[in-house]
């Protein structure tokens, strides 16, 4: 049995809850509980329609295992809620959620973690290195979050609009172009940031310490590259600091 979707579903409440979607992240259901919490306001119509059992079953399904990029979770929330309203069989709703995990994770990771975030953070680093100070930090926060909030909002709307045909939403030319452009843009900006940041951080180093700095950076990079599965940045940093402390005591 299907209930007619409301003209204006509780998007605002669902969107607000999506900002907490990872709040109960765990190794069993991963984002599942947060997804259920975010989907619940969109399912209340089922209860209003007098179908309490359908509401409860949909809430239970909504909290099952899920993991994708947090900013794109809304797409699955909206699509699953729409499918529930349209009376799509439960096993198909489950299949939809399962099938969305990988693609939304992959797309979001490319778009945000490996694209928009390092791109805007790289711009922030360049700004600080060029002496802009706080405005560079503020600029990073404002620009990054303009994209962040827009993406969350679009995802929820698009999921609700397309329901089980949600792949249509992912074919958006803007989205495809953004992922294609952000890779090279991020590479260029972070590449440009590195020498500027090196100059910014090495301002206080003179004489032998400047040579030592270049040697430590080059040697550290080589170690990290060759021992990539064994040596992490934290371990390298702590090891070098321990050696420096020891050397400082032995060579007063």
């Amino acid at each position: 049995m299907s209930a007619a979707p409301r003209a204006r579903p509780a998007f605002g409440r669902s969107l607000l809850r999506l900002f907490t979607v990872q709040g109960s992240w765990n190794y069993e259901r991963m984002q599942g509980v947060g997804m259920g919490v975010a989907e619940e306001p969109l399912l209340r119509d089922l209860r209003v329609a007098g179908n309490g059992a359908a509401y409860r079953a949909a809430v239970a399904r909504g909290a099952h295992f899920f993991n994708a990029h947090p900013y794109l979770c809304g797409l699955a929330v909206g699509a699953a809620a729409r499918a529930e309203h349209e009376g799509v069989p439960p096993e198909q709703v489950e299949r939809l959620r399962t099938a969305l995990c990988g693609p939304l994770g992959s797309l979001g990771d490319r778009l945000v973690w490996a694209g928009w975030l390092p791109f805007t953070s790289g711009l922030g680093l360049i700004g600080v290195a060029l002496g802009l100070g706080f405005p560079a930090i503020l600029g990073f926060l404002v620009v990054f979050n303009a994209g962040h909030v827009a993406l969350r909002w679009w995802a929820l709307r698009a999921g609700w609009t397309h329901g089980v045909r949600v792949a249509v939403a992912l074919r958006q030319p803007v989205l495809q172009r953004a992922t294609a452009v952000l890779g090279p843009a991020m590479a260029f900006v972070v590449g440009a940031a590195l020498p500027l940041v090196a100059q910014y951080l090495s301002g206080g180093f003179l004489g032998w310490s400047r040579v030592a700095l270049a040697a430590v950076a080059a040697g550290g990079f080589a170690l990290l590259w060759w021992l990539r599965a064994r040596l992490t940045g934290v371990r390298l940093g702590l090891a070098l600091l321990a050696v420096a402390t020891l050397a400082g005591w032995l060579w007063p």
């Binding site: 190794y27 069993e28 259901r29 991963m30 295992f65 993991n67 994708a68 990029h69 299949r95 099938a99 969305l100 995990c101 990988g102 693609p103 939304l104 994770g105 992959s106 797309l107 979001g108 990771d109 490319r110 973690w113 490996a114 089980v164 045909r165 949600v166 792949a167 992912l170 074919r171 992922t179 294609a180 890779g183 990539r228 599965a229 064994r230 992490t232």
Partner: protein, 157 residues
């Protein structure tokens, strides 16, 4: 080149696969072996959306994968093969000569499974199945991303 990674991951193609492994390995094609996805065009469309335009995605059933494996191994590009369960890769591995190494990238909680690593949950039967595969000469390690330490099978079964 050949298939650089044979991976078991119940989320199939996701961020760890495309960004985590795909970038450093410079992957040219990804083979997704799953009988259900092979028969579902909308799911194929979804998985394709998550992969950059420069990477080809091949969808195959287990039977098709068995037939095509030699061709993929001869492909000039770097390949990555991913399946969602142990059964599929056990079928592909055969006597252990076709699949030299298996990367266990993610098998998550399900009733009957117990936690072995934070991203590996196995039932006793699945653990025994992996041990049997290892006995056939397949090197099995768990490793979610390339920067993590590979964990040998004996450390979590």
């Amino acid at each position: 080149m050949s298939i650089a990674l044979y991976r078991i991951d119940d989320r199939l193609i996701h961020g760890q696969v495309v960004v985590g492994w795909g970038k450093p390995l410079n992957v040219g094609f990804i083979v997704l072996v799953d009988d259900a996805v092979r028969g579902s065009t909308w799911e194929q469309e979804l998985y394709r959306m998550g992969v950059p335009a420069g990477i080809e995605v091949v969808f195959a059933s287990t039977a098709e994968a068995l037939a095509c494996l030699p061709d993929w191994e001869r492909d000039a590009r770097v390949g990555l093969l991913v399946a969602g369960d142990i059964d599929t890769l056990a079928a592909l591995a055969g006597d252990g000569r076709r699949v030299p190494r298996i990367n266990l990238g993610g098998l998550h909680h399900r009733p009957g499974r117990s936690p072995r690593l934070r991203y590996v949950y196995l039932s006793d039967a699945e653990a025994a199945q992996l041990k049997a595969l290892a006995a056939r000469g397949v090197e099995i390690t768990a490793q979610d991303v390339p920067t993590a330490r590979p964990v040998p099978l004996e450390d979590f079964t």
